[in-house]
């Protein structure tokens, strides 16, 4: 059983007890524990179930590489699935539940999969569940989905908040172990602006556990001193609980800082995502120990040797009382020595190497530990915890020589450098035969903006399993020069570590393991991928490592193969009879370990999820029944709904009142662009399809804009202010787009033309005063002369209306007598109030966008976004009157000459009127006879806008119809989606006041 030792534990504070819950059981640990160490301290060997076979799973590692110990953490708004117990700092009141089992962790029905394992090899689902067809969706898939999936789905809205932080520096050092500390020190002393990141809460990495001396002092002491030196440097920033998550192109780095995960009660953001721009990056991310592939290596109690000593030294926790150590390298002996010194029993060290190891072996032997060389684990006995191991010859096929009782197995298969961050942007790897691992190829780094490498690797991450500090020192000096600084004089600290003999690569234990053993030798603990699965994949021709990964799911678990990838591709290489480097690795993708979606989104949630653009009358609109319609980031009132009204009622009321009395429209969102300069007229002639240069100052003209590809993109009224100044109105969505469009042409094509553009959209509150009583209302306020004589239709004038400086445009989009009045935005609300007051006697009411749409439709005016959809040209809409014949060029002219654009069969704008007065469904199509070559029903037109017109008391619509204008009176059929067919007559699109008498009074 695993237990808390009487003393020891450099990271825990035995005076601070912490109560926590696991699967409803109340347990205690100490401050400084991880959830994993606390669980082990409470003899929780079984902590979860595997993905596919639901095999019992225990803690196997002590850090980010842990594939097994994943839990559901907390509940409600702070619930989080798949939390890694080995990196979850224990806090008082923590509650966790184990995952992926039913009904309970101890008794899991899903475990039946395990006994069926031989019928469920890699990729079995590709070969079966094929018949009968409906079964996949309805029977097989639901079962598979239910048994997969690990953690529970969160239900509640996230109770936390998150933020981003932009940071700039010369160098980021990732990893706060001895290599990272030394690298930061060298760069710091050279005067570089350095950010040093450590993913855990502690500095020094493995060194304090693994021992050895630096500068003649114990590693831990050296770490303390160096930290003090770094903290004293103003140009060095240290950040713990902050992981280098992803390296992106051009020296962009994401770092993931966990601010309150260890103290959920604290205020402030939970995570902070650092968005860093740096010249150089040094990854000192260390190395990860590899498991050994022997039968039963997944049974709870079988752990990485390094993890075993981490728990003893850091947390005073023993994973077992009798631990068999199995290794193919000298480092494994450290664990045996550590256990022995902690007073624990180590019945055997099994060293796969015939001749064993060096100094550490002697030290272990001196402690009285029995060491068997050339030996291996043939099989681990046990179910939910280790009972014993069968010892066999490494060279053999696994026949048991003896059985050793134990409750834990510490395995050491050698170390693999953490090369993820080096690889994110394309850094290449080289296979190191001596140390049997991939390490960064310094000659092929990821390239930055300048084409030079921008990532360097230091220490164990660089393959320097010994002499990490010296390696980091040298690496940092090179990087400092790359930054353009001069490294200091100091010499690299000397490291003293016991002499180690080389590792002997062992990819399968024993080497000739029988088939049934290979079927129990796990590579990927979480996804249940075994040696036999990879060999099967190779046999079936999945020769690329990417194929094997996808076919077997090797390395696709939440640890992304941190433990399994190298062992897996070694097995694959062996099966293919090719050297490991030829097989290569899969691609490393960010993030290094999973980061919260919340952190990615940052501050953008709730009120500040996205900007809501407000007009000066926004507040009034909001408190006066506005039913909001998002238009881009703007919000416009769709209608002003009164109590007891439906939205539709309100719209009808607004239309009728505007036609009979007077309505008020908040038109402030319409774009307003000032175009000024000697060439302004010439410029606008190119932008609009019609002639603008001939417009007289004081007058307005409606204009159309097309893209260079010929399609109608915007429209609006242009007012000429003076000889070389125009004010162009755009649609609500158009202001920024058209402004950018103008700047683009001026800057990149006609840069010699003298024109300046400014967007003054928001300078003005623009208010439409619309209806037969509009003039009366304005005259009540007094001020400028707004008579038909002084301000005729399509004219504008500056002046005062009441106390307000105003510009009045005599334009109409409704067919009524109408003024659009612009006043400074800072006085917009006041002017709106004044108009409401003045209009009281005249029955004034505000109206929204839907009433606006209906009134323009009654008049047959097109609406960008309704009649146009990006595929419509002005000619389709009968707007030829707005296309100048005199101009030899304008944007879109050439495009409109293409054969398909001049095709007489193009659908053209008409009015549509249902024979029974009902409203045509929006978006309905008119059918023609027969079907096309693909068996689709032929169509001859479609509805572009359709409304009930309160003015006419019937449904009216506009649409595009093949040869439409020549087919007046013809009745077309528009099938609905519910089987009904609507019949509508082709009519003139102008339904109301065709001669325009009403707007012209």
């Amino acid at each position: 059983m695993s237990l808390r030792l009487r003393d020891g534990g450099r990271l825990i504070d035995r005076s601070a007890r912490m109560a926590f819950q696991f699967d409803g059981r109340s347990l205690t640990g100490f401050a400084g524990d991880t959830l994993a160490s606390a669980l082990l301290a409470n003899d929780k060997m079984l902590v979860g179930r595997s993905f596919k076979y639901h095999r019992p799973r225990g803690v196997v590692a002590s850090g980010a590489e842990e594939p097994n110990a994943l839990v559901n953490l907390a509940q409600g708004g702070t619930f989080e699935p798949n939390q890694r117990a080995t990196t979850t700092e224990l806090f008082d009141g923590l509650t966790a539940t184990s995952q992926n089992h039913w009904p309970s962790l101890e008794h899991d029905i899903g475990a039946v999969n395990s006994s069926l394992a031989r019928f469920l090899p890699a990729g079995f689902y590709y070969k079966t569940f094929i018949h009968p067809r409906p079964f996949w969706k309805h029977i097989y898939e639901p079962f598979i989905r239910q048994s997969a999936g690990l953690g529970k789905a969160p239900k509640d809205r996230d109770a936390d908040r998150y933020e981003h932080f932009y940071y700039f520096c010369d160098l980021v050092v990732i990893g706060g172990g001895v290599a990272g500390l030394q690298a930061a020190r060298v760069a710091g002393e050279a005067g570089a602006k350095v950010l040093l990141l450590e993913q855990s809460a502690h500095w020094g990495g493995r060194a304090p556990v693994d021992g050895g001396e630096i500068d003649g002092r114990p590693a831990e002491a050296w770490v303390t001193d160096t930290l003090a030196v770094l903290e004293a440097m103003p140009n060095v920033t240290l950040r713990s609980r902050c992981m280098g998550a992803g390296v992106y192109d051009h020296g962009y780095l994401l770092a993931y800082e966990r601010l309150t995960d260890h103290a959920p009660q604290a205020d402030g953001p939970r995570h902070r995502l650092w968005r860093i721009r740096t010249q150089q990056i040094i990854t000192a991310t260390g190395a990860i120990e590899r498991p050994l592939s022997f039968a039963g290596n997944d049974i709870p109690g079988v752990m990485l040797a390094s993890a075993v000593r981490d728990y003893v030294v850091n947390y005073g926790v023993a994973p077992g009382q009798r631990t068999v150590v199995v290794t193919n390298n000298d480092d494994g002996y450290r664990t045996a020595i550590c256990l022995k010194q902690a007073g624990l029993d180590v019945p055997r060290i099994l060293d796969a190497r015939e001749t064993g190891g060096g100094a550490l072996m002697e030290e272990a032997r001196a402690l009285g530990i029995r060491i068997d060389c050339g030996r291996a684990v043939g099989k681990v006995q046990g179910g939910k915890r280790v009972k014993s191991v069968q010892v066999c010859a490494q060279k053999g096929s696994g026949s048991a020589l003896e059985e050793v009782a134990c409750d834990a197995v510490a395995m050491s298969g050698g170390w693999s450098p953490v090369v993820h961050l080096w690889s994110h942007c394309g850094g290449k790897l080289v296979w190191d035969d001596v140390q049997a691992h991939f390490r960064p190829d310094a000659d092929r780094p990821p390239l930055g903006r300048s084409g030079q490498g921008f990532v360097a690797v230091a220490g164990a991450a660089n393959g320097a399993l010994t002499g990490a500090v010296a390696d980091a020192d040298a690496m940092a000096r090179g990087v400092v020069q790359a930054i353009g600084l001069k490294p200091g004089k100091g010499i690299a600290p000397a490291e003293t570590q016991p002499e180690e003999l080389p590792i002997e690569p062992v990819w399968l234990m024993p080497a000739q393991a029988k088939t049934e053993l290979k079927a129990k030798a796990w590579l990927d603990y979480q996804n249940d991928v075994k040696v036999s699965d990879v060999q099967l994949a190779a046999r079936e021709g999945f020769e690329s490592v990417e194929h094997t990964k996808r076919y077997t799911t090797l390395g696709m678990a939440t640890d992304q193969g941190k433990l399994s990838n190298i062992n897996g591709l070694a097995i694959l290489s062996d099966a293919l009879g090719q050297p490991i480097p030829q097989t290569g690795t899969t691609t490393f993708r960010p993030p290094y370990t999973p980061i919260s979606m919340g952190a990615i989104a940052g501050e953008a949630r709730g009120d500040i999820f996205q900007p809501v653009r407000e007009t000066p009358m926004y507040g009034w609109n909001d408190s006066n029944g506005a039913d909001w319609e998002p238009v881009g980031h703007w919000r416009r009132p769709y209608a002003y709904v009164r109590s007891g009204e439906t939205v539709h009622d309100a719209v009808m009321r607004e239309v009728t009142n505007t036609r009979e009395n007077v309505g008020l429209l908040d038109a402030s969102t319409l774009g307003k662009l000032i175009v000024k300069g000697p060439d302004a007229g010439k410029f606008l002639d190119m932008l609009y399809t019609n002639m603008m240069s001939t417009l007289k100052p004081g007058r307005c003209r409606y204009g159309l804009m097309c893209t260079e590809n010929g399609f109608l993109t915007d429209d609006g009224v242009v007012a000429r202010i003076d000889e070389d100044t125009f004010l162009c109105h755009t649609t609500t969505g158009g202001a920024d787009r058209i402004h950018a469009h103008m700047e683009e042409w001026l800057q990149t094509e006609w840069w010699d033309w003298q024109v300046y553009v400014a967007n003054v959209t928001e300078q003005y509150a623009q208010i439409g005063v619309v209806g037969p009583k509009a003039r009366a209302v304005l005259e009540t306020l007094g001020g400028m002369d707004l008579s038909a004589e002084a301000l005729p239709f399509m004219a504008w004038a500056d002046g005062k209306i009441g106390a307000f400086d105003a510009r009045a445009y005599r334009v109409s989009f409704s067919g009524e007598l109408s003024y659009e009045i612009a006043v400074p935005a800072s006085r917009g609300q006041a002017f709106w109030d004044a108009l409401l007051e003045a209009g009281k006697a005249h029955g004034i009411m505000p109206y929204g966008t839907e009433a606006l749409h209906i009134m323009r439709a009654e008049k047959g005016f097109i609406m960008i976004g309704d009649e146009t959809d990006g595929t419509v040209i002005p000619q389709d809409l009968g707007l030829n009157w707005a296309i100048s014949k005199k101009k030899d060029d304008y944007l879109g002219k050439r495009a409109q000459e293409r054969v398909h654009m001049t095709d007489p069969d193009r659908w053209k704008l008409v009015g549509l009127e249902t024979v029974d007065g009902s409203v045509l469904p929006d978006g309905a199509y008119a059918v023609a006879e027969g079907t096309n070559a693909n068996g689709q029903r032929n169509m001859q037109g479609r509805v572009t806008s359709t409304y009930h017109s309160p003015t006419l008391g019937k449904g009216i619509a506009m649409g595009l119809v093949k040869h439409g204008p020549d087919r007046m009176g013809e009745v077309l059929e528009f099938p609905g989606t519910d089987g009904t067919v609507f019949k509508a007559k082709i009519v003139d699109p102008v339904f109301y006041d065709k001669d325009g008498d009403k707007q012209n009074v």
Binding site: T128, I130, R145, E629, R898
Partner: protein
């Protein structure tokens, strides 16, 4: 070739699966083939498969510079739908979707087509109108879709927040028989079937040049030497520009990186595919339990399979607004693929200026769902010189101004 079945597995289980044969052969190239397809992705393999199945053309080589299915086939978010607006799109995507229905049986390979339903959320009035229009068009195009209200949306996908303050869900375009499939399996299944018909799938064979004589294609130069052919099909999403350059013509295409990401796996919580185009995000849950999320495409040419972080940021931000529960999930992995963007964002399946050379490209962000239909149409085009499925997607449409624009109904091509 041994058939796959539960019985075959049981039989093999008894002998520790020692008897499984290679899923596809791995031969050296012959001197000459009737047809060479460049690109062993889904589209290329499907083209080869239907050349054999529908036209009896089996003297075919499929050349792949990397490993088969290693391009966008293996990097996409596996959405399958056909609720497109324009006739030409609806035709080829619906043909494709209908072929997916029986693909597992047809290939004797479980591609895990899961018609769990696809919904496209309408979160603005503009989208409401766009999707109502699409629903009308689909009804006439033989595509089964319906426009549904917010309550139905909530019923079909309980984790959606339909009354979000910013973009309330106003409705959705619902295609009940849309869904997902296992992307790798589609490539592997076609490859296995092609191999069984005697076709040569040649991996790690890079095409370095196109041989022609008198304006007619003669063969290709490859890293494994020259290979002759009568007809050449170029189906190399992401690298079409490079191949076209070899063949001496230019395409209306730009290659950009498109990104996607997955969360850590969780128990089933979402049984449909949801696309929220106003906020540029779409999401489904894989059989493994991961939330599969599609991100945006960069606006600049890029041949690295990496994109820019801010697209991921924008997508995740938007999806959290629509699916608040994902805020506490973690991103497990992000990646990018290279996609061809054409002038109208619709694909090109066409003859080319070089006689005998055909091209299939420009699927942008929407290629996976089209694999069977694209292969079907492309095979017909290459075998007979014309196909109603591909007619509208010809290269000359750009010159004529005859675009196939799907963006008009707020639809996107994912």
């Amino acid at each position: 070739m041994k058939r796959y079945s539960a019985f075959a597995i049981a039989r093999e289980a008894l002998r520790h699966h020692s008897g499984w044969e290679r899923a596809w052969a791995s031969p050296e190239p012959k001197r000459k083939y009737d047809v060479i397809i460049v690109g062993a992705g889904g589209h290329g393999l499907a083209t080869a498969y239907y050349l054999g199945k529908n036209f009896g053309i089996t003297n075919v080589a499929v050349l792949e510079k990397g490993w088969l299915g290693g391009g966008n086939t293996g990097r996409n978010t596996t959405i399958i739908r056909s609720n497109y607006l324009q006739d030409a799109s609806a035709a080829i995507y619906e043909k494709s979707r209908s072929l997916y229905e029986d693909l597992s049986q047809d290939l004797n390979y479980n591609v895990m087509f899961s018609p769990r339903g696809v919904m496209m959320l309408a979160q603005t009035h503009h989208e409401v109108r766009g999707y109502q229009r699409t629903a009308h068009a689909n009804a006439l195009q033989g595509v089964a879709t319906e426009y549904i209200g917010p309550e139905r949306v909530k019923e079909l996908c309980p984790i959606i927040c339909i009354d979000g303050p910013r973009y309330p869900v106003l409705g959705a375009l619902w295609q009940p028989r849309g869904g997902t499939a296992r992307h790798d399996a589609v490539a592997w299944g076609y490859a296995r079937a092609c191999s069984a018909m005697g076709m040569d799938i040649i991996q790690k064979c890079e095409v370095t040049g196109v041989r022609s004589e008198g304006g007619k294609v003669r063969g290709v130069e490859t890293s494994k030497g020259p290979i002759e052919c009568d007809k050449l099909g170029v189906v190399v999403a992401g690298h079409s520009g490079v191949l076209a350059e070899m063949a001496g013509f230019r395409l209306p295409i730009e290659s950009v990186a498109l990104q996607a990401l997955v969360s850590e796996p969780i128990k089933p919580c979402m049984d449909v595919v949801v696309m929220a185009n106003t906020v540029h995000g779409y999401m489904s849950q894989s059989d493994k339990g991961e939330m599969v999320i599609g991100g945006g495409a960069d606006g600049y040419n890029n041949y690295t399979q990496r994109g820019s972080f801010h697209h991921i940021e924008e997508t995740v931000r938007a999806l959290i607004e629509t699916f608040p529960m994902i805020s506490r999930l973690k991103m497990l992995r992000q990646w990018g693929g290279i996609v061809d963007m054409t002038g109208d964002r619709s694909p090109i399946l066409s003859k080319t200026p070089l006689e005998g050379c055909f091209i299939n490209c420009g699927w942008g962000t929407g290629g996976f769902k089209a694999i069977p239909g694209s292969g079907w149409g492309m095979a017909q085009l290459m075998a007979t010189g014309a196909s109603p499925l591909t007619a509208e997607f010809s290269l000359d449409r750009f010159k004529e101004g005859r675009f196939i624009d799907e963006s008009v109904a707020a639809g996107v091509a994912h």
